[in-house]
Amino acid sequence: MKVCTPHREFLAAIADGETALVPADTLEHVRGCADCSSEVRAHRLLASRLRQAGTTLVEAEPSRRPMPLARGRLRLIAAGIAGAIVLGAAGVGWFALSRPDPIVAAVNASSQPMQIESSDPSQVGEWCLQASGRTLPAIQLDGMQVVGARMDRADSTDIVTVMYAAPSGERVTVSWLEGQAPVGSGVEGRNISGHDLLIVHAAVGTAVITGTSTGAMWQTAAAIESARI
């Protein structure tokens, strides 16, 4: 583990002036670390640009203009967010019918070039974390060699696809679907547009497996099912 790693999650707070929330040893580390200081500056700059982006877009699009925020609006914001969550939950059924099928998007993604090529699972894992903002349930799968990864979006669903080489040399891709709660458990076989695929509903998440060998695909499915959070 790099010496900076335990301090990194505090860098945004430092950039935002929330130093009361930051441990003293992190503040001391950042003062003497060029990398962390540089990242704090990047966070500060991005926050400033976001603020400007909000203002500029509001000027350009009056219909989106928000009301100036007063402290008394906090409850209103809270109520709005709570309402949005409720509406979002209620709309899931309708949305599922109208949005592009993430399974089809995953199959399409599996035939696209990798955006990172590496046999190092930790490097691929770090890339996936940065690309999707979440830690994948499983990168290293028993008996499979990581080859690379890519990130796609189908409507609002992030799809992170990791490519593997099986011991036989066959290629297999695993596309993890963001926000897809496991529906039961088990492996479901499908054929979409001539592509055989497996959908794994495992405790760790839902994944779509495609590949050039049915045997390697089932081996991958078994490895995912045995993976633990």
Binding site: L50, I77, G179
Partner: protein, 88 residues
């Protein structure tokens, strides 16, 4: 004969500079819209609405440490996507 550049030739054209600025800010906003809501909401409330982490924690009913973590992850994700998928 080469004329000396006047002040208006040395400085960027303000209209052009403004257009570039707007395009850049629009791109930031477009990428921001691709963030998962879990990350986008705390980032919006802190960066745009300028609320404190404690206020955001109160609104979202989560611990302040969660807000801190989500704001950090949101900005990293935004930087990553603005950089075209390169590690930053």
């Amino acid at each position: 004969m080469v004329e000396a550049a006047g002040p208006h030739e040395q400085d960027p054209n303000p209209v052009e500079a403004r257009a570039i600025e707007r395009a850049e800010l629009r791109r930031i906003a477009d990428v921001f819209r691709t963030l998962p809501l879990t990350f986008a909401v705390p980032l919006f409330l802190t960066a745009v609405e300028e609320l404190s982490y404690a206020e955001v924690a109160s609104i979202l009913n989560v611990p302040v440490g969660t807000v801190m973590s989500r704001v950090y992850r949101a900005r990293r994700l935004l930087m990553f996507r603005l950089a075209g998928g390169k590690l930053v």
